[in-house]
């Protein structure tokens, strides 16, 4: 019932958006206020329908109605409330609904604030995008084709031919399949809303650009569009940051950025949006770059749709860690991108000849030229990244079955572009606030250049930078920070409200510094032996069994319990054991590693976690996942996870035995009682091996009077050293042997001594005077005994903190600019309404 209503209202919203689209078009052409009002109402009705059906979906999720595919697929009974709510947008259908919802709210803002003559055309474009998005979730089954996939479909509708559905059409699963454990993170809860707010707001400059082409008013549109673009960029940046931070803290690839297609999908619109902001700023200041600002405003949105197409149509299925479900929306998504291209780029080309162009070219040393250079570079970088991400399609130009490009492709192109950009920001900022010629510019740049040089030299020396290219990169990054900072200081004295741009650029410079430090100078944490081995691999001195040189370095180390290892000549690291607990995830192990810096400094602990993935593990197969521990610091982070452990290995072996239902148990486990007692006859000074253990009889030690029974005739202890050979761990035990009289008879007394961590008991059971030896009785001696061990992958990443700092500065700069431009737009509106 609820689902029916939800489904119907989604269809209703779709129909309302089509009606609104037509009416907005009429209102725009006829400039009819009444029709525009009616369309606004339709916009509102569409939004209300969407909200009600969203609530319906959330209700189904909260009440665990697993007969609905979406509910079954993304939730389960044991999911916490906050993740139940976020499961609403956990799947593809729900995330479209969230996107539409954000667009709806943005549209309400536009209805309220947009001035004439843009209002109707802007809302027309907004409605057009909403209509396409709604078509993805209506789930209409026309006989010849299917339009969209509704989140309200039942399992029976989703898989009508499954055996359990054929057997019982009303089958309701007792529990859902649950949310992927990796996504159970507060970061992942807020990431999607933030990104969709960004997507929705990025529609606004697109809509204004189209409206300006429509109404042939090419000057005015950027004033209302600029604050929206800035806000869209702030949202996208925040979303990128959240995604990167989550990846760094949760995943085991060990970084915040991997040039993954889905990451690129959020970066490219941001780059183009930023290019658009630069062009709009020139246009506002100097009445130039009309073509560029229109073009970038259109492209920023087109890339959002293009990347949506790439990631959601199944084209990238083989290449991305983000597994988006292929809902069969390929055709619809393709139509979406084609229509946006035609409406955007087509209209742009159609009007191209009419667009104003500058009377004269700008000089090299002008804010126009520098800012324009910045925006072109951002565009080029975006273009390069799109090219790389499109490899499954465009790669076919080169090879039949293309793989994704090497990561190197992205790095090779982004580094030089970033260097030129970085330098252009400083020139641009100086020229932005004051006219300069070469001489005067050189004059003001002397001090910043001096400081930059000092900072660069210090970084090179302290960081031991050997690569010339990196030196140039570091110089450019420092120049950006210091050059922009000096402009900022100047502005702070004049008018602090103007500092937005400089703060953003300082953030950009800091980001570059953080990126180069944390990516190029990340070093694996290793013990001395592994490090030496890697040295020899590098030198080509290691050969495998067949005599081929080994080229792969080892980037992990093994720790045995309570045996400290010196890591990177810097830390004594000791594995102290692990705890198994059922909270928050059943069966998770928390490992405890003690780090003692050898050069002083305080000891700290790292607690990486290994846990069974709930969604993909079953009774006969556990899929283990790791939760790295990141210890953050101002200078460097330590990133560490447990890649393997004795516990996990034993659990896997147990499962394997169960699965095989093997009646043959390994020796010593089934009838262990009889085999785990061993008698060892040993002479003084002798060493005897039993399994992996060595027993050494050092000497006799006199026994203290008070521990002996009464009437003792002989009482003696034997000093025995028990060593576990593979690990080298050893214990000294002094078991006691005594002979005493009671009621005229002799008794022996030999209490067992326990070696707790090995589960072993040692008894001094007999003396053989004739052969000058003694006999030890050992219980719990396991032939296959192995000390607890773990495999650790750890990295030291310098200055990740600076990456975050740079990101925050970028956000702060954008925020300051939003406030400034928004206030100016409001003031203009007030003035114009006062006039009319």
């Amino acid at each position: 019932m609820i689902a029916k209503i939800g489904h119907l209202l989604l269809s209703g919203a779709f129909v309302a958006s089509i009606a609104a689209l037509i009416l907005y078009a009429i209102a725009a052409v006829k400039e009819d206020k009444t029709i525009e009002k009616i369309s606004n109402w339709l916009w509102g009705i569409k939004g209300v329908f969407l909200c009600i059906s969203s609530v319906a979906l959330i209700y189904l999720i909260m009440t665990h109605q697993f007969q609905y595919y979406y509910v079954w697929n993304y939730t389960s009974l044991d999911l916490e409330t906050q993740y139940l709510i976020s499961a609403f947008y956990g799947g593809q259908e729900g995330s479209f609904m969230l996107w539409i919802f954000c667009g709806f709210i943005v549209g309400l803002g536009l209805i309220k604030w947009t001035r004439k003559p843009y209002r109707a055309p802007v809302m027309f474009v907004m409605t057009l995008t909403q209509m396409f998005l709604l078509s993805m979730v209506v789930g209409w089954d026309l006989n010849f084709t299917q339009i969209g996939a509704t989140p309200f479909r039942t399992i029976a509708q989703e898989m009508p031919n499954a055996p359990f559905i054929l057997a019982n059409p009303d089958f309701v699963p007792s529990d859902g399949s649950g949310l992927n454990d990796l996504l159970k993170s507060p970061w992942m809860m807020i990431h999607p809303p933030v990104i969709f707010i960004g997507f929705a707001m990025m529609t606004v400059p697109f809509a204004f650009a189209i409206a300006s082409l429509w109404t042939k008013t090419y000057h005015e549109w950027i004033r209302p569009a600029l604050p929206w673009t800035l806000a869209a960029n702030l949202s996208l940046l925040t979303a990128i940051f959240l995604g990167g931070y989550w990846a760094y803290e949760t995943l085991s690839f060990g970084g915040y950025w991997a040039w993954d297609p889905v990451e690129n999908a959020s970066l490219v619109p941001w780059l183009l949006g930023t290019a658009g902001i630069h062009a709009m700023i020139i246009q506002r200041k100097s009445s130039r770059a009309h073509k560029a600002s229109l073009f970038f405003a259109i492209m920023a949105y087109v890339t959002i749709i293009y990347q949506t197409f790439l990631t959601r149509s199944g084209v990238l299925a083989d290449q991305s860690v983000h597994s988006f479900v292929d809902l069969g929306l390929y055709g619809q998504l393709l139509a979406f991108i084609v229509v946006m291209l035609v409406v955007g780029v087509g209209f742009y080309l159609y009007r191209y000849r009419e667009l104003p162009s500058p009377q004269e070219e700008s000089k090299f040393l002008s804010r126009e030229f520098m800012t324009f250079t910045g925006s072109m570079l951002l565009f080029i970088l975006g273009f390069v990244i799109i090219l790389g991400t499109s490899s499954p399609i465009l790669g076919k130009l080169f090879v039949a079955n293309p793989t994704p490009p090497d990561i190197q492709f992205y790095n090779d192109w982004s580094m030089p572009i970033a260097i030129i950009m970085a330098i252009a920001t400083v020139f641009g900022q100086y020229l932005f606030w004051q006219k300069h010629n070469w001489e005067s510019l050189a004059g003001v740049l002397i001090l910043p250049l001096l400081i930059t040089s000092v900072a660069t030299v210090l970084s090179i020396v302290l960081g031991d930078v050997r690569n010339l290219y990196y030196m140039v990169f570091i110089f450019a990054a420092w120049f950006t920070v210091i050059g922009n900072a000096s402009v900022m200081l100047h502005l702070l004295r004049k008018n602090p409200k103007l500092v937005g741009g400089t703060v953003t650029h300082i953030g950009f410079g800091a980001l570059l510094l953080g990126i180069i430090a944390s990516s190029v100078y990340t070093e694996p944490l290793l013990d001395q032996r592994t490090a030496n081995y890697n040295q020899r691999v590098l030198a080509g001195d290691v050969f495998d069994d067949e005599g081929f040189p080994v080229t792969q370095q080892i980037e992990m180390f093994e720790l045995e319990i309570n045996r400290p290892k010196l890591i990177n000549n810097k830390y004594m690291v000791t594995y102290e054991g692990f705890d198994v607990s059922d909270s928050p995830r059943p069966g998770q192990q928390t490992y405890r590693l003690r780090f003692e810096p050898v050069d002083g400094g305080s000891t700290f602990y790292m607690d990486p976690v290994v846990y069974p993935m709930l969604t993909s593990s079953s009774a006969d197969n556990i899929e283990w996942s790791v939760d790295p521990h990141v210890r953050t610091g101002w200078l460097s982070d330590i990133y560490l996870y447990v890649a393997g452990s004795q516990y996990v290995e034993q659990r896997n072996e147990e499962l394997e035995r169960q699965n095989r239902r093997d009646p043959m148990m390994p020796v010593g486990e089934e009838n262990g009682e009889s085999t785990d007692v061993q008698n060892i006859e040993i002479h003084i000074g002798e060493t005897i091996s039993a399994g992996p253990f060595n027993f050494t009889f050092r000497e006799f030690v006199p026994a203290a009077e008070e521990v002996l029974p009464e009437n003792t005739q002989i009482g003696i202890r034997a000093l025995i050293r028990v060593e576990h050979e593979p690990s080298g761990n050893a214990y000294d035990v002094e078991p006691l042997f005594a002979v005493y009289n009671e009621d005229g008879r002799s008794y022996t007394y030999s209490p067992p001594l326990e070696i707790e961590s090995w589960g072993m008991n040692v008894m001094f059971s007999r003396v053989h005077p004739e052969s000058d030896s003694i006999e030890l009785t050992v219980h719990g001696l396991d032939e296959n005994f192995e000390e607890d061990w773990i495999l650790v992958v750890a990295e030291k990443k310098p200055f990740v903190s600076v990456v975050w700092l740079g990101t925050f500065l970028l956000m702060a700069g954008f925020s300051i600019s939003i406030l400034r431009h928004w206030k100016r737009e409001k003031d203009t509106q007030k003035r114009s309404s006062a006039k009319s």
Partner: protein, 131 residues
Amino acid sequence: MKPKLIIGILAIVGFTSLLMYNFGNSISTYVNFEEAENRSTSHVIGNWDNSQEYGFSRDTMQFSFHMKDEDGNVRRVVYPRPKPNNFEQATQLVVIGEMRNNIFHADEMLMKCPSKYNENPEFELATGGES
């Protein structure tokens, strides 16, 4: 105006061709084990051959297994890291690395896991036999 236009066009053409050239070089094509013999780096798609022994050796610090490529060639693959979490479940493996003396030395390994979104036989098991 004219010479500047020409320079501009040349710059764009030059840039684009360099970019496309570099892009063409940085992507490669998926090959089978036999073709991989003669290449420095190869991407090979295939499946785990579970009839032979596999596992992580703590002596060599390597994970090794046998993989059957799409044309049915079986080769031993060594990977200098622990066994990836979801190795056994993978419906498809992509190994990236170098073939040397009939052993594939993988630097990177990607696993394609069965999508839980497909109709999968574990469904009933996971939900308890209510039907």
